[in-house]
């Protein structure tokens, strides 16, 4: 067996095993010097990115990938002596999983490149990079796993490493307080999920998502399932920062270093993935998807509107962007919620699937432009030393590239062509209009308010007389921002590239829970 075959066979496992090994080795390698450790961390992140791309290719070419941990062979989902239950931990990679894994590893790589310069000279960097890799592991694991308890474990890895990273710049105790808030909120949420998993395990004697969905479909949707569903859906909505459970977002995003804000933003998108996976695959066959879909739509509307109006009041650049993240999450909930509300009806093929594609495309776009905006905010704070918009001004005189990158991100988030935000927002407007015109009206108004808010930031930070005599930020930070800007423009002008290879397979995979279940329970091969 050649190395290439070996990597292809084990790709789903390697996608978490490689960053995990990287994280554990980083503190030891850091003893040999910062440069060696940086080469190590960046090559691990690069290889993880390659594995995520490989997973996308494999899923698009050969269909859903099943990987059984400790299985012999690694595709044997149900061993002959197990009584028909998939007893081992199984990774099930479909289009949506591969999509989420790709955006997670991409933001990890970009944040790694950015922190080469932005964290230079700070203490405890061995732990910083180990935690950064662990956060990537948490996101990738949540995206790839097909096992409920395993999902909980990766959610915990995700929350704990993110909380530790938020507190990295102590900032007179403010960052520590934000991290503590985040840790408490996520731990309580994780306990709720654990309770829900216990209910489902007690009822169906299985932890595999496909098996639970199959047995739930056979025995019907019970009151206990309803409790478990409520706990899981509300907790994951909290983790992805939907209003009214968004209170941890401004603190958490606002106090973290710029690149970590971008990563936590994507980590909350991984929770969003978990929410969609539970709604569609686990509960989709049995529960009332119409009301569940409307629940997501209402959460989405609230998040969009309250997020953007709260952002107007902020004069801290990072908190302002954090509220915009809440607002952007609303678009995704709206798009996919419309898909869920129409699932199984004729309306699904008319506009529901298109709305889902819009929502999922928005996840990718949000990762790109919101990540870019957080990185530019980090760059401003890196040079100016304050995050208060009232104290900034005239930065475009000297920080030309940062200003251009900021403008690209701001126009993209506001949905101005030719940037990528325009495409996904247009898809959402066109499709949700057919379910209820009111939804599209709110979405369009929120988009305008977003533009106004970001132009205000551009004006107060970059325009005006020269207040600070600062230099442009170091090269590694510019490269990181450049990568994201490149893809924003690329997906804005050629959205079909992302649509064909990433978004459409993801939407179809979510909409097809039966295919997911039969792939796992049907023998695996």
């Amino acid at each position: 067996m050649s190395v290439w075959d070996f990597i292809i066979t084990n790709a789903p496992a390697l996608a978490i095993a490689v960053p995990l090994l990287g994280a554990f080795l980083t503190p030891l390698i850091y003893r040999a010097g910062r440069k060696t450790a940086l080469i190590w961390v960046l090559s691990v992140l690069g290889f993880t990115e390659f594995l995520a791309l490989l997973l996308v290719y494999l899923v698009n070419t050969y269909g859903i990938q099943v990987y059984v941990f400790g299985g012999n062979p690694s595709t044997l989902a149900i061993p002959p002596d197990s009584g028909g239950i998939p007893i081992r931990i199984i990774f099930t990679v479909d289009g949506m999983s591969a999509f989420t894994a790709l955006i997670s590893s991409t933001i990890g790589l970009v944040a790694g490149i950015y922190s080469v310069a932005s964290e230079k000279g700070r203490g405890a960097q061995d732990k910083f990079f180990a935690l950064l890799l662990l956060l990537v592991v948490g996101m990738m694991g949540m995206a790839l796993t097909g096992d409920l308890f395993n999902f909980f474990v990766f959610l915990e890895i995700n929350s704990l490493s993110a909380a530790a990273l938020v507190s990295y710049r102590i900032h007179g105790g403010k960052a520590v307080e934000a991290a503590f808030k985040y840790a408490v909120v996520s731990s309580i949420g994780a306990l709720m999920i654990l309770f829900a998993i216990a209910i489902l395990y007690g009822e169906y004697d299985a932890l595999n998502m496909a098996m639970i969905a199959e047995r739930m479909y056979q025995t019907g949707f019970s009151a206990m399932d309803m409790i478990a569903m409520a706990l899981i859906v509300v907790t994951l909505a909290m983790k992805c920062g939907a209003v009214p459970m968004h209170y941890w977002v401004p603190d958490g995003y606002g106090e973290a270093p710029g690149e970590i804000s971008a990563m936590i933003m994507v980590a909350s998108q991984a929770s969003l993935y978990g929410l969609f996976r539970m709604c569609f695959t686990v509960f989709g066959l049995s529960a009332n998807t119409h009301s569940l879909g409307w629940f997501l739509i209402i959460l989405g509307l609230l998040s969009m509107f309250i997020g953007v109006t709260m952002a107007f009041l902020q004069h801290d650049i990072k908190r302002l962007m954090a509220y915009h993240s809440v607002s952007q999450t609303g678009y995704m909930l709206l798009g996919v919620g419309v898909g869920l509300a129409t699932l199984g009806t004729s309306a699904f093929n008319q506009y529901g699937l298109f709305a889902m594609e819009g929502g999922i495309f928005h996840i990718l776009n949000n990762m790109l432009y919101k990540g870019l905006l957080f990185l530019t905010a980090g760059a401003i704070i890196y040079r100016v030393g304050t995050s208060d918009l009232n104290k900034m001004g005239g930065l475009a005189h000297t920080m030309k590239f940062t200003a251009i990158f900021y403008l690209i991100g701001a126009l993209a988030i506001a949905g101005i062509p030719p940037f990528n935000g325009f495409v996904s927002k247009l898809m959402i407007y066109e499709s949700v209009y057919q379910l209820n015109p009111f939804l599209a009206v709110v979405a369009a108004i929120v988009s305008m308010l977003t533009l106004a808010s970001f132009l205000k930031v551009f004006h107060s930070a970059f325009m005006g007389p020269k207040l600070y005599n600062v230099k442009e930020v170091p090269k590694s930070m510019l490269i990181a921002m450049g990568i994201l800007s490149f893809f924003i423009v690329l997906f804005g002008i050629f959205p079909n590239i992302a649509m064909t290879y990433l978004v459409a397979p993801a939407a179809h995979a979510l909409a097809d829970p039966v295919g997911y279940i039969t792939r796992v329970l049907g023998g695996g091969a």
Partner: protein, 152 residues
């Protein structure tokens, strides 16, 4: 630093705590407990020594950097054991029923518990035990370093 009575008691108890901790780790695949619990018991030994002798003395006996290295080595042993199984699948139990280390077969039915079984599980328990003793040890060192000596 506490009184001579406490220090003598600590000296006496310390090896027993270590032995009990490693007993829990080593029997992780047979009895309740395992790597994490055993490692935590071992870390209580560190706590006992710090309480008895005071942080300032203990920090020259037990170094934080050694404990963090221990933590990393435990984690590495764990993940490398999983990687070795990769020729079949990640986390594959390549030692079980192989007749080698921890490779004895267990016959069906009740038995008193044989230590030399379960393949890679005892190795992973040991790795977790080492990791937890390092990790919890560092946490204890940091937390107890804020304790102040009270003059009598």
């Amino acid at each position: 630093m506490m009184s001579k009575i406490v220090r003598t008691q600590a000296n006496f108890l310390y090896p027993f705590i270590l032995i009990f901790g490693f007993y829990i780790v080593a029997h992780g695949h047979l009895t309740p407990g395992g790597g994490f619990q055993g490692g935590a018991v071992i870390a209580t030994g560190i706590a006992l020594v710090i309480v008895a002798y005071g942080y300032d003395r203990v920090k020259s006996w037990i170094k934080k950097s050694t404990l963090t290295a221990t933590e990393s080595i435990g984690l590495l042993c764990f993940i490398l054991t999983a990687f070795i199984g990769l020729s079949t699948s990640f986390f594959y139990n390549f030692l079980a029923n192989s007749g080698l280390l921890f490779g004895d077969k267990v016959s069906y039915g009740a038995n008193p518990g044989y230590l030399n079984t379960a393949g890679t599980l005892p190795i992973m328990n040991l790795a977790v035990g080492v990791e937890v003793l390092g990790g919890l040890g560092v946490i204890l060192m940091y937390m107890l370093s804020y304790g102040k000596e009270v003059s009598k």
